[in-house]
């Protein structure tokens, strides 16, 4: 973006990037190390990164005691559904919000922001009551519904910001060329929105994947429990935890989001406006 930096500039960039990655990534490394440590190594006064007697016992325990596999499948189902639905719902709305000024739109955006502001803990009980009323308590559909609503504020705010960034002239130029509205949207708008869509889908997926509280109170059948709820069962009184199995389970719970992102991240830079704005 800044053209070709000098060699020292490049070196500095790599140094900065390494610093960032250590800060952001080292807990994952520590999680990895912890997951392979036997109980006695977890309480050393001078902890080491490499376990001296590595073991897979933590993974065995994690999977035999809690139905982590089952829970992971549940979580995957709920999170994918939430991500897809959020994007489908938010895309048209954010387009409308960005391109047409209406009172309803302004009110809606304001409301969305307000709903994020109000202390979440005070909303839990009424939401729980509604879902029970409509028979969605103890179902994954109920969870998906909540997660979509939860992700919508972010999705709407972000996506309409991205739509605004697309010059109106592009769309107009395309429709002058004879493209229908649908074609304009499909060929011009959506590709340019790809990074925003990726960010939205990712946000929605990960927040659903990691959400704990609603999954805890809404789902009572043990077979329907999601991963965060299953993992929390390794935590005990006063913040003590069975660190080994917890780390093993958490490590495996972290991977799907990372893989999901690894697949999607290329799209974060594909929607270049470069070729489009000529003229």
């Amino acid at each position: 973006m800044f053209g070709k930096p000098s060699r020292t500039g490049r070196t500095l960039q790599y140094v900065a990037l390494t610093g960032y990655l250590i800060f952001l990534g080292f807990p994952l490394v520590w999680l990895l190390s912890t997951a392979f440590k036997p109980p006695r190594e977890l309480v050393k006064l001078h902890p080491t990164l490499i376990p001296s007697n590595p073991t897979v016992q933590n993974f065995v325990q994690a999977f035999t005691e809690q139905q982590l596999g089952r829970a992971a499948l549940n979580s995957l189902q709920v999170s994918l559904a939430s991500a897809v639905l959020t994007v489908l719902v938010a895309l048209p709305a954010s387009y409308a919000l960005a391109r047409f000024r209406t009172k309803l739109g302004t009110v809606a955006l304001g409301w969305v922001l307000l709903s994020q502001l109000f202390p979440f803990v005070l909303l839990i009980i009424p939401i729980f009551l509604i879902l029970r009323q409509v028979g969605l308590a103890n179902t994954h559909a109920g969870l998906v519904l909540i997660y979509v609503v939860w992700a919508l504020p972010f999705a709407l705010w972000m996506l309409q910001g991205f739509v605004r960034n697309i010059p109106r002239e592009l769309e107009e130029a395309a429709s002058v060329d004879g493209a229908s509205r649908l074609q304009v949207l499909r060929r011009v708008v959506f590709p340019l929105l790809a990074p925003g869509i990726v960010a939205t889908a990712l946000f929605s997926f990960i927040s659903a994947w990691n959400e704990f509280f609603f999954a805890l109170v809404l789902v009572k059948t043990p077979e329907l429990a999601t991963l965060p709820v299953a993992l929390a069962r390794f935590v005990g009184i006063e913040g003590t935890a069975r660190l080994g199995p917890l780390a093993a389970g958490s490590l495996l719970a972290t991977l799907p989001s990372l893989i999901f992102f690894a697949v999607m991240q290329r799209r974060l830079s594909s929607g270049s406006l470069a070729g489009a704005v000529k003229g």
Binding site: M1, G3, L28, V89, P195, V277
Partner: protein, 310 residues
Amino acid sequence: MTTVADRPDVARADGPRRARSRSDRLGIYLLLLPSLLPIVVLSVFPLVRGIYLGFTDARAGRNVEISFTGLANYRELLGDELFWNSFKIGLLWAVGVTVLQFVLALGLALLLNQQLRFRGLARVLAVVPWAMPPVVVGILWKLVYHPDAGLLNEFFHRVGADGLRTNWLGDFSTALPAVILVGVWAGMPQTTVVLLAGLQGVPRELHEAAAVDGASTWHRFRNVTLPAIAPVVVAITSLDFIWNFNSFGLVYVLTAGGPGGKTMLPMLFAYEEAFRYGNYGYAAALGNVMVVIIVALLAVYLRRRLREAN
């Protein structure tokens, strides 16, 4: 669906201009409907109820009667020193985390937008905090800050800087900065991804043109990049601020508001009021007051940003 689609054509035959705008509006509403419907169902009722509770004496209990008490909660709240103390801490926390998050995330997003080697890997590693289950995040950071066997103190020990070893979460002066750092860590990926996505919308031609004009890197960043991503920046910092102000789970796990109330965030305060002491009415009143103050702060921020943008 066909009927919906057909009718406007008839209407358009009547009078093109007016019909067009009417049909446009209908279209807009149809676009908005799918997202507004679930929001209305699942957030309007709970929110309105929550706001209303703030004017009552609602308490936890089986078959408890609620009576309207008007402004009684707010009179009590005005004199609630503990709450206002915690509100100050909350502002410090929210502003601190949001600003650091934004500055650091912008730097990272700019780096990740460069043609650097291992860029894909770096991008994946950058979202690690986000991908980790929250239940383990608090526990991991406690291991980092542990006074005897913590990674941070161990690091200082190994590099021979034993003098820097501290009881990070237990010391009155370091507790808040320590949890702010965790807050920044936890929220950075989100902000980074959004800013990175935003950077894709910056037309390369503008840069090239500016480069040809001989503008310095800083100048190009200031005059080309920043204005281009301004809408995204405003959106994400506003949301970050709200989220940070509202989040307390991580801090609760790390310090439970201690030591000596140094990390008692206002949302934690409201949570305790509602879930631990059962004072729903008073907790809702706290919520209402916080919403009003935060909205006012955001309004000032948004107005200034928007003015800058124009």
